[in-house]
């Protein structure tokens, strides 16, 4: 009976009432775990580069300006807000914020740049910020991601342990 079906469907609609929100005047609050734009906290960051190594979209670059200064740059363009950077950060320096209205004409609004002052490791000569997590990361040499062209540079896969400590400073390019 099609008429009966139509009546039933009408009841479904009437029972529902109005469900839309007056967005953007009033937004629905986001849940606790919501993964919005990542925020990098320079005070907590130790410059280990774990977020950069684990970013699936290669959106985080690390550049050692000199022995003492390491720059960490978040590009924010093709970031998928997967939250891996926040997961792996040993210092909880990355938080997935609750910001989701991120459309902008100026990409600089979203990009972040952290400059870290690093000290020098007596053992390997690398720079670190205490307390170090470098031992766990085991990646050797400096990092020179292509900041000018905003590209990740694929680099050495050598590990610290299997290599002599002395000539550890040389940079390897793939």
């Amino acid at each position: 009976m099609s008429v009966l079906s139509k009546l039933k469907e009408t009841i479904v609609c009437l029972k529902a009432g109005r469900v839309t929100l007056p967005y953007p005047a009033q937004a629905r609050p986001v849940p606790e775990r919501f993964r919005g734009r990542p925020i990098f906290d320079a005070a907590k960051c130790t410059g280990c580069g774990g977020c950069a190594n684990n970013c699936p979209a290669r959106e985080i670059l690390v550049f050692d300006v000199c022995q003492e200064v390491r720059v960490l740059q978040y590009l924010g363009r093709r970031c998928t807000y997967c939250g891996r950077c926040a997961d792996v950060c040993p210092e909880k320096a990355v938080t997935m914020s609750h910001e989701f209205e991120n459309a902008t004409n100026a990409i600089g609004d979203i990009q972040q740049r952290i400059e870290l002052f690093m000290s020098t490791c007596q053992r390997c000569g690398r720079c670190f910020k205490e307390p170090t997590t470098l031992d766990q990361l085991k990646m050797k040499g400096y990092r020179f991601d292509d900041v000018a062209h905003e590209r990740w540079v694929f680099r050495s896969k050598a590990y610290l342990e299997s290599e002599p400590v002395v000539d550890d400073i040389k940079i390897e390019w793939d």
């Binding site: 099609s2 469907e9 609609c13 993964r35 684990n54 699936p56 997967c82």
Partner: protein, 558 residues
């Protein structure tokens, strides 16, 4: 030991041509055979042994074995077995017998291997370029290992045009797509129309090919890929995420903790719920029944919210890593999820009751876009399309993964094979999904959700994984490799096979039924090859031809 039985059958028949066989588990079989018998073996398996064709995979294995590799994957659904038939093809003369004559469903897969890896298939029924863009030079194959991930071939010819087939005599050509308001992705159907009747079509797709597989095997690492895999599809992302993780786990013999498996099942079923509700809504939208479209979406919304609460996002859950999952369900979420499911069930039941008796929808969808059992077998159709034709397959039951072997559910089938049956199947599967989630919530024990993997994954192992996406089986094939990334990762989404069944579905029916018979694929008119401009001041009109338009576009680009 089903795998052993099947292997013995093959050995009896082909004996010395079988070079090696691996049986890593009861439900997996890898058979390495001589290239000369590939067509006979596939004919025997597809015909006499009644296997279901899944997909063919091509891989550049030259840096490791000095040869190319082609794998034809088959499934024995009642016996719960996945079989991969592997052939090594010499690097200096990469030619292999085509199986498209004996397994019609292999048509696309072989053309894709030809494009991407450069293995020629001799005797292919329709050897036309499939994946690569029109201007891509011949003889350059992007999935070969000596082709860099960011390489752009120098002699890319922007002006080389696609050559369409000649339409049959007496037919007019009507273009469908590539762009259309209800079409989520570009796909072009060139329909041959006689009066109002569609007599055939030519498909042209792969316009948004993103090269994810190449990225995965040259740039990303094992735990990066799940996040990329999720973005293969906008609706069934979690399926690819889980399927990839399971394929790697099956290759490396890793068993994720039980709680992780329960969580995977729950999230997959949440995804099925939202996807089915979305599809039923869209199907109604296409036939012009917007009331139900609105109601489906309203009923679906709480599912999106609870998914967001559990995983942090409405749709891209970012769920799996190798050996586990990233987010847990807290006791509060469990209570809330139950409440959402109860409400969903209470709201969906009257809708289904009303719709299943609605004559208007039935008149519009019954007998439309029919794919019968034979078509399913021929084109390798899967998922709700196959189940609506009475083919009783469902990867959740046939090739159990996660915890589907620990929950009870019914596989919904129907016998019409038409659009109406697909609506019925998908509308009813919603209730099964709800039941599965409830059972999971009951049975889930506290425990770790991520395995601590300390060793590097073994190299050169093969892994298969089939996951039942809302639209059908999603199949992933992985060869593990060096540098913490797979050597080869092949994704076969359900639509890859189902699209190949479309030409048969739309043949000899009204042009107006085209959109709904394509169902979720729904392309439409838009690609006209002419454009008329009117000068408002003078009122003069000018009709632009295709050639003039192309010239205009290219001039702007330069």
């Amino acid at each position: 030991m089903v795998a052993r039985d099947k292997l013995n059958l093959l050995k009896d028949k082909f004996g010395p041509a079988i070079l090696r066989a691996d049986l890593p588990a009861d439900d997996r079989l890898f058979v390495y055979i001589e290239p000369v018998v590939v067509r006979d073996v596939c004919r025997y398996m597809f015909g006499d042994m009644d296997a279901r064709y899944i997909i063919s995979i091509g891989a550049d294995d030259r840096p490791f074995s000095g040869k190319f590799m082609v794998a034809h994957n088959f499934a024995f659904d009642p016996e719960k077995l996945l079989v991969s038939v592997l052939v090594h093809v010499p690097a200096d003369n990469p030619k292999l017998d085509s199986i498209s004559g004996v397994v019609p469903a292999a048509n696309w897969a072989e053309r894709e291997i030809r494009d991407m890896v450069g293995v020629e298939f001799e005797g292919h029924c329709y050897p036309k370029r499939l994946v690569l863009p029109d201007g891509w030079p011949d003889g350059v194959h992007p999935l070969r290992k000596d082709f860099a991930w960011n390489e752009v071939p120098k002699d890319f010819d922007d002006e080389r045009e696609f050559k369409f087939d000649e339409p049959p005599a007496g037919c007019t050509v009507v273009p469908f797509g590539p762009f259309h308001p209800t079409l989520d992705e570009p796909a072009h159907f060139r329909l041959y129309v006689e009066g109002e009747m569609v007599r055939g079509c030519e498909y042209r797709g792969f316009m948004v090919h993103r090269g994810i597989e190449k990225l995965a095997e040259s740039v990303l690492t094992y735990n990066d890929i799940p996040m990329m895999a999720e973005r293969i599809c906008g609706i069934c992302g979690c399926v690819h995420n889980v399927a990839y993780a399971q394929a790697v786990e099956s290759a490396a013999a890793i068993k994720p903790p039980p709680r992780a498996e329960y969580l995977r099942t729950v999230m997959l079923e949440i995804e099925r719920l939202h996807s089915h509700l979305l599809w039923v809504g869209l199907a109604c939208h296409i036939v012009g029944f917007d009331t139900l479209f609105m109601q489906s979406f309203r009923i679906r919304e709480p599912i999106m919210w609870i998914a967001e609460k559990i995983s942090g996002n409405r749709k891209t859950y970012g769920l799996c890593l190798i050996g586990g999952v990233r987010c847990d369900i807290t006791p509060e979420m469990r209570t809330e999820l139950r409440a959402v499911l109860d409400k969903l069930e209470a709201e969906w039941r009257p809708v289904v009751a009303a719709v299943l008796k609605d004559k208007n929808i039935q008149k519009r969808t019954r007998g439309i876009g029919v794919a019968d059992k034979a078509a399913c077998k021929r084109s390798g159709l899967i998922g709700p399309v196959a189940r609506a034709a009475g083919v009783d397959i469902d990867c959740r039951r046939d090739h159990p993964y996660a915890v589907y072997d620990r929950v009870r559910f019914n596989v919904i089938t129907d016998d019409g094979g038409d659009v109406w049956s697909r609506v019925v199947v998908r509308a009813k599967e919603v209730f099964e999904a709800i039941e599965i989630i409830r059972q999971c919530l009951d049975k889930m024990e506290p425990g770790p959700i991520q395995l601590d993997i300390k060793d590097e994954l073994p190299i050169g192992r093969l892994g298969l994984s089939s996951v039942e996406a809302p639209r059908g089986e999603s199949h992933h094939f992985v060869i593990t490799g060096e540098n913490n990334r797979p050597r080869r990762w092949r994704v076969r989404a359900p639509t890859y096979q189902n699209l190949q069944g479309v030409p048969a579905m739309i043949k000899d029916q009204q042009l107006a039924d085209m959109t709904i018979s394509l169902g979720s694929i729904d392309p439409c008119f838009s690609c006209t090859d002419r454009l008329e401009t009117i000068d408002l001041k003078s009122g003069a009109t000018k009709v632009w031809t295709q050639e003039e338009l192309l010239k205009l576009v290219r001039a702007k680009k330069a």
